[in-house]
């Protein structure tokens, strides 16, 4: 079993009567880029707050970088860079002064390298030119970059990024992706939350899907794709015969009569071991004429809509 960078068991957070996070069992393998996907209000930020010790959990356990949280918060968090619910800064300080202050907040961060590290982080997110500007004069995208620079102030074993590309232009989005990849290439684990599937698809090797506070799927992207429901589509001018054959195989096809006299039979393939070629042979052996036969996979997006039960842009 691979080492886990983040591991939760039955993690639960209750706000009054509302369960914001409900029995979460996360397993984030070390060294991966892990996507944390869910519609608005599904509990992503709340989970991240609990991981970072900002909010206490109502129930459940958290282990991060092999240590129990939040009891080991002092030794774990210096190894973790984070962006939580958007960047936040002192508007009256320059971008650089903001980073100097946040770096000073960590007792273990070495004073000697502070300036160099701050400048390197600013350089990495492309803010060197705007470093001396006051943060209140920053655009949304500049703030987002500064927030990312803060997460990268020191070499980290784990990055926890809550919607890191929020407010960035396409160019900025690509740069952030490049930064995340470079961090991952250095061996760090990256945990990225997003409500955008496309982003996760481009960036992540693993993914977990949240819906209304519950984890509805977790695994590699491939596993998730494999899990998606496949359908057998048969085009035949003999719909009744075809239906009998397919029913004999245990399928429940729906029939749509085409205007040309033929019919399209669609059946879900519940069993991944059930191969389309078996169906083909059975149809041929029964003398059913077949115009076309295909296995249609769900798109990942359709899969997620099916999992979360709603569009990604619908508040939960």
């Amino acid at each position: 079993m691979p080492q886990l960078a983040i591991e939760t068991h039955g993690l639960t957070k209750r706000f009054g009567a509302q369960l914001a996070v409900d029995g979460l069992d996360l397993a984030v393998p070390a060294g991966t880029v892990f996507g944390f996907l869910g519609p608005n209000g599904s509990g992503k930020t709340t989970t991240i707050r609990m991981l970072l010790g900002l909010a206490s959990s109502t129930d459940g356990e958290i282990r991060m970088l092999e240590e129990a949280m939040p009891s080991a918060i002092e030794s774990v968090l210096p190894r973790v860079g984070a962006l939580v619910e958007g960047p936040a800064f002192y508007p009256f300080l320059s971008g650089r002064a903001n980073l100097l202050r946040l770096d000073a907040a960590d007792r273990r961060s070495p004073l000697g390298t502070r300036r160099a590290r701050v400048d390197a982080a600013l350089e990495r997110v492309g803010l060197t030119a705007a470093a001396r500007k006051r943060a209140h004069a920053y655009s949304l995208g500049m703030k987002q970059r500064l927030g990312l620079a803060n997460a990268l102030l020191a070499p980290r074993d784990l990055l926890i990024l809550d919607e890191p590309t929020n407010g960035l232009d396409p160019q900025g989005t690509r740069e952030v992706r490049a930064i995340i990849r470079s961090v991952a290439d250095e061996g760090a684990t990256v945990f990225v939350s997003s409500h955008l599937l496309s982003e996760i698809e481009q960036l992540c090797s693993h993914v977990a899907v949240m819906s209304r506070g519950r984890l509805v799927a977790q695994g590699t992207l491939q596993e998730l794709r494999a899990q998606s429901i496949r359908r057998l589509v048969v085009l035949s001018p003999d719909p009744d015969a075809a239906r009998r054959v397919l029913a004999g195989l245990g399928l429940a096809p729906s029939v749509r009569v085409c205007p040309d006299g033929g019919a399209e039979l669609t059946a879900e393939l519940p069993d991944p071991t059930m191969l389309a070629e078996n169906a083909t042979r059975a149809l041929v052996e029964a003398g059913v004429r077949v115009r076309g036969i295909a296995v249609a996979g769900e798109t990942l997006e359709e899969r997620f809509v099916a999992l979360t039960g709603e569009g990604f842009d619908v508040a939960g």
Binding site: G53, S56, P70, S71, I73
Partner: protein
């Protein structure tokens, strides 16, 4: 949640400190055990205590059941005479801090510590300075060089108050050494004086005397009608070292209004303690009754003075209309301003004053 549990000491420790700070002094002031002494022996110690050197802080508090007045009554904007009356009232109704420095019989300094102000009496041999920081007023009095030590001021120290009490009330008073106490960190005998008559408002007077030096450390007067002490004057801290000689070396600061009085040739007016300089035309007071229930009757003063007094706002707030005049009833003393202008004062109920007024 248990990550927070380790911070419990951060809350618990200060809480314990506070609890300790409250509890420890309470334990420390438990009554000491001292060899038994009779009232006479204790009084002898007091008489013996002349010439001690010490410095200390006293606290004087009264609980006379006077009506409470808003602090604004004492504001500098009030009429001058009204504010003097309010000053006096303040002296009676709130806690006053007093510092005393005594170096034997001839060098004394008394400081009444007011808020951002101070009144001083400094005696150095035959020179006595008084100083009032509010008006920046200083008075220099030269005492008769050979005269006996004159108590130059009405300021109350335990020593002066105790001596006066003992002389005045012994015939009518039951004396007992009831218990011991710790006052200002000193072991002390408590001499209780209980009036033999029931006609007075005074329940008892308790004098606490330093068991080692014989210095009176505290005087407490209890009234019949209430549990809390009516008047308490006592040391909160005392140090038997010789005070710094510079303290008695007073001279008027520059810019002060200085009055000079030379009494070195003058005869001391008899029967007058010199505390309150009285108008030349003031008639002598007479007394009715004896002992604790003595009533002083002050004859009608020159009219404008008493009318001036009665027209003041404070007067109305303090007095009640009774048959035959207006009266002030405190838990310890009653005053009757009779309609004919006489003023009757005594440690008795108002009814007794009315009876004496006739």
């Amino acid at each position: 949640m248990n990550r927070y549990a380790r911070w419990i000491p951060a809350v618990a420790v200060p809480a314990l400190v506070v609890a300790g700070a409250i509890a420890v002094p309470a334990v420390a002031s438990a009554a000491p055990t001292l060899p038994e002494k009779s009232p006479a022996q204790v009084l002898a110690m007091v008489a013996d205590a002349k010439g001690v050197s010490y410095s200390g802080t006293l606290e004087q508090s009264s609980n006379l059941g006077l009506p409470q007045l808003p602090a604004s009554a004492a504001s500098p904007h009030a009429a001058a005479s009204d504010s003097t009356a309010a000053d006096l009232l303040q002296l009676l109704s709130r806690t006053n801090r007093i510092r005393v420095y005594v170096d034997g019989e001839t060098k004394q300094r008394v400081q009444v510590l007011d808020d951002l102000a101070e009144r001083d009496v400094v005696r150095n041999g035959s020179t006595v300075w008084t100083w009032d920081s509010k008006g920046r007023k200083a008075t220099k009095v030269t005492l008769p060089s050979k005269g006996a030590a004159t108590k130059s001021d009405s300021t109350v120290t335990p020593a002066s108050l105790a001596a006066k009490l003992i002389a005045a009330v012994q015939p009518a008073t039951q004396l007992s050494v009831s218990s011991t106490a710790s006052i200002a960190g000193r072991d002390a005998y408590q001499l209780t004086m209980t009036p033999k008559t029931a006609g007075t408002l005074v329940r008892d007077v308790v004098l606490s005397v330093d068991a080692k030096t014989g210095l009176p450390l505290q005087v407490r007067v209890d009234a019949t009608g209430q549990k809390a002490a009516a008047v308490t004057v006592g040391f909160t801290a005392i140090d038997y070292g010789k005070p710094d000689a510079k303290l008695f070396d007073f001279s008027a600061p520059s810019g002060a209004k200085v009055t000079t009085k030379d009494l070195s040739q003058a005869k001391r007016p008899e029967g007058n303690h010199g505390a309150v300089p009285q108008g030349a035309d003031a008639a002598r007071p007479s007394t009715v009754g004896t002992g604790w229930s003595t009533i002083a009757v002050l004859p009608a003063a020159s009219d404008d003075r008493s009318r001036g007094l009665q027209s003041q706002k404070l007067f109305g707030q303090l007095t009640q209309k009774v048959a035959g005049g207006s009266a002030v009833q405190t838990s310890l003393v009653s005053v009757l301003f009779a309609d004919d202008g006489r003023v009757l004062v005594g440690a008795v109920p108002v009814s007794a004053l009315q009876a004496a007024a006739g």
